[in-house]
């Protein structure tokens, strides 16, 4: 990997100055690497090591926003096998079929076919990820954009994604990468050590695996997390949580925080809107908490589809009973995207209703997202009620925490603090 930091604009925007109006975890609009391209991996060259020169990377700041890394994209018909690594969780079946054991879908895949995610392929009866180190988006984001509010607040996360996703949410804001195959988006080779080095160079205390679905680039996440830890850099996973238990447990050994999109609280919603299942996501959350993983939950509230009192109450009660009242829950505003352009943005009153219900159920840290300036972006001490972290959008304005305790009443605030 040839990187030229001298070519990078060295401006590091102060968190909160810009990017405020991007929805949480949205790929910045000027992403250098998103968009459909006609670059296709040539199957004949599968596993054949190519000798292409390392791709240079250069970065520029988004127009007044967060840095976006314009990694030079692989050319058409790249005969580059560097991205192809045998999958960690699958089983071989008769007649060269494979069964993926990474996510609950358990796709059974014929030779030369791919799973639902579009980034894992059976070749000759073995199963491979096609996206190891195949980064299609790289940006520096405030950690609040993930959103994680109780984990190193006010810091930056070096955020990366590959193509692919194991669900197909009708409201996906990053569908152009999440619902594409790796060869359909511009990508670059960014191996784990180089990723960790980049994060370090840009003084990001964490790498975030985000924008699309880290579960489908699982092997890369684990390797990059190891590389990051070697340099003292944390790893954050922003996921839908649709993963099997064994790979989840192994993942939890290597990363430092996981934000789970609990996209709704009914199987019907998961089936019809998410194209997934609720139960495995709930199992994921329970396991994460048991393993001591720092966990935050986001629930995107979509008008008319998952915005009933019963769903809000059910979600809040489930969190309280299964995870505890200290797990932060973020209700975020929906913007019309992808296949749900017919719906309006979530009314503020709906989000405030969700928060009121969750507060009434006893959750301590209920936030509202994608509404810059709303008081529910702040963290309040559950005992004295004072603001301990004041935020506007993704910007931390004030911190009244010392060693994880409220400055005013010394109550411990759960989280991972600097």
């Amino acid at each position: 990997m040839s990187l030229h930091p001298g070519k990078f604009k060295t401006h590091f925007p102060t968190p909160g100055v810009s990017g405020e109006h991007e929805p949480a975890d949205a790929l910045p609009r000027d992403s250098m690497l998103s968009g459909i391209a006609a670059a296709e991996h040539d199957r004949r060259s599968f596993l054949k090591l190519a000798s292409l020169p390392c791709l240079a990377a250069c970065a520029s700041c988004c127009g007044g926003g967060w840095p976006a890394f314009a990694l030079n994209a692989a050319g058409p018909a790249s005969e580059d096998a560097r991205y192809i690594v045998e999958a960690e969780f699958y089983e071989k079946l008769p007649f060269k079929k494979t069964r993926c054991k990474l996510c609950p879908r358990e796709c059974v895949i014929d030779d030369r076919e791919r799973g639902y995610c579009g980034v894992r392929e059976n070749h000759g009866g073995s199963y491979y990820t096609l996206v190891h180190s195949r980064v299609c988006a790289a940006h520096i984001d405030p950690i609040e954009k993930k959103p994680l509010f109780h984990f190193y607040p006010g810091t930056l996360a070096f955020s990366v994604a590959t193509a692919g996703c194991n669900v197909n949410c009708k409201m996906c804001q990053n569908w152009d990468i999440s619902q594409s195959r790796p060869e359909q988006v511009r990508s670059s080779y960014l191996p784990p050590k180089d990723l960790a080095n980049l994060a370090q160079q840009y003084r990001c205390p964490a790498i975030a695996y985000t924008y699309s679905e880290p579960v489908v680039f699982y092997e890369y996440v684990r390797d990059a997390a190891d590389a990051g830890h070697a340099l003292g850099i944390k790893s954050l996973v922003v996921t839908g949580g649709y993963i099997q238990q064994d790979p989840l447990k192994k993942l939890c050994q290597g990363v430092d925080a996981i934000k789970v999109d609990l996209k709704g609280f009914s199987e019907k919603y998961y089936k019809e809107v998410v194209n997934g299942e609720l139960k495995p996501v709930l199992d994921t959350l329970v396991t994460m908490r048991k393993l001591g993983m720092w966990t935050e939950i986001v629930s995107l509230v979509v008008p008319t589809l998952n915005d009933s009192d019963g769903e809000f109450r059910g979600l809040a009660q489930w969190v309280k009973n299964n995870l505890g009242v200290d797990v932060p829950v973020h209700f975020t505003r929906f913007h019309p995207e992808y296949l749900l352009k017919n719906l309006p943005p979530t009314p503020l009153e709906t989000l405030e209703r969700a928060k009121a219900i969750a507060d009434a159920e006893g959750l301590h840290y209920v936030y509202l997202g994608n509404i810059p300036g709303h008081p529910a972006e702040n963290t309040y001490c559950p005992k004295c009620g004072r603001v301990v972290i004041a935020r506007i959008g993704f910007t931390v304005q004030e911190m009244h925490l010392r060693k994880g305790k409220c400055d005013y009443c010394q109550t411990a605030i759960p989280g991972v603090w600097q």
Partner: protein, 268 residues
């Protein structure tokens, strides 16, 4: 066999007269082949080339004929030689031109369409193969159009139903596919979509129809009959009857008929 089939389908006096009903001079004609499984159970090169000959006789110059599928590598694995020289027949995968930037949406399907379909072809002659499919039940005319979108992997749950039917409702698909001609010279009744030689047989047939639903229903019955001959359970019994065929025929889609009483099977 090709000439007899097309002539009978169009009730024409000669094969040429039939082909002139399929295409008109000036049109760019795309042959959507199915090459995923490589040699053995893909659209045969000989059939495609013979159709190209007939198209030229009907007034379509070589430069206006395109043989296409999902990937260049798929085409080559089936024996087609990828080429796009201006005055010759073009053989191109979707990876050559890529996909549209805007989604095409119908029902459960939201996809980017192949530019080969949207920007190159005026007419599509759909050339699937007759074979079993481990997820969808069977794959023939309707499902072959999965090769025209960027995200077919998203549409395999629930036996590909209603996805296959919804995809065929997209205007660019529905309006451009003018003839379905299923290559059943070699057919496969189990183990698809990959090529499994132990489950193939020489059917030595072509199935032609203007109605993709009728073609798929008829082909499905041929596969079921073969399975029964071999003492295998029916797809229905295995829980993978191709339900998308009935969906394609329903009142919401009306892509054709799956009612045997309305399907006239003419053997030539």
């Amino acid at each position: 066999m090709l000439d007899r089939t097309v002539q009978a389908l169009y009730a024409s006096d000669t094969p040429l007269a039939a082909w002139k009903k399929v295409v008109r001079p000036g049109e760019v004609v795309g042959l959507k082949v199915n090459c995923l499984a490589g040699r053995g159970i893909s659209t045969t090169v000989v059939l495609a080339e013979l159709i190209c000959d007939r198209l030229q006789e009907a007034g379509i110059p070589k430069k206006n004929i395109v043989i296409w599928d999902r990937l260049n590598s798929d085409l080559e694995s089936a024996g087609f030689k990828v080429a796009s020289r201006a005055e010759r027949i073009r053989y191109i995968g979707n990876d050559t031109l890529g996909y549209e930037d805007d989604l095409s949406v119908y029902g459960s399907v939201g996809s980017l369409l192949s530019k080969t379909l949207t920007q190159v072809c005026d007419v599509v002659i759909n050339l699937p193969v007759l074979k079993d499919h481990g997820i969808a039940g069977v794959t023939m005319a309707l499902k072959n159009l999965f090769g025209a979108i960027h995200n077919p992997n998203k549409y395999h749950p629930n036996l590909c139903n209603p996805y296959v039917a919804d995809l065929n409702m997209l205007p660019a698909v529905r309006q451009k596919v003018r003839l379905n001609l299923c290559d059943a010279i070699t057919a496969q009744y189990e183990g698809g979509p990959s090529f499994m030689p132990q489950w193939t047989w020489k059917y030595n047939g072509l199935l032609a129809s203007l109605d993709p639903v009728a073609l798929d229903h008829t082909g499905w019955q041929i596969l079921e009959q073969k399975r029964a001959e071999k003492g295998m359970k029916s797809l229905q019994d295995l829980g993978r009857a191709p339900s998308y065929i009935a969906t394609a025929a329903d009142a919401q889609h009306r892509l054709g008929t799956n009612n045997p009483e309305q399907i006239e099977v003419v053997t030539v």
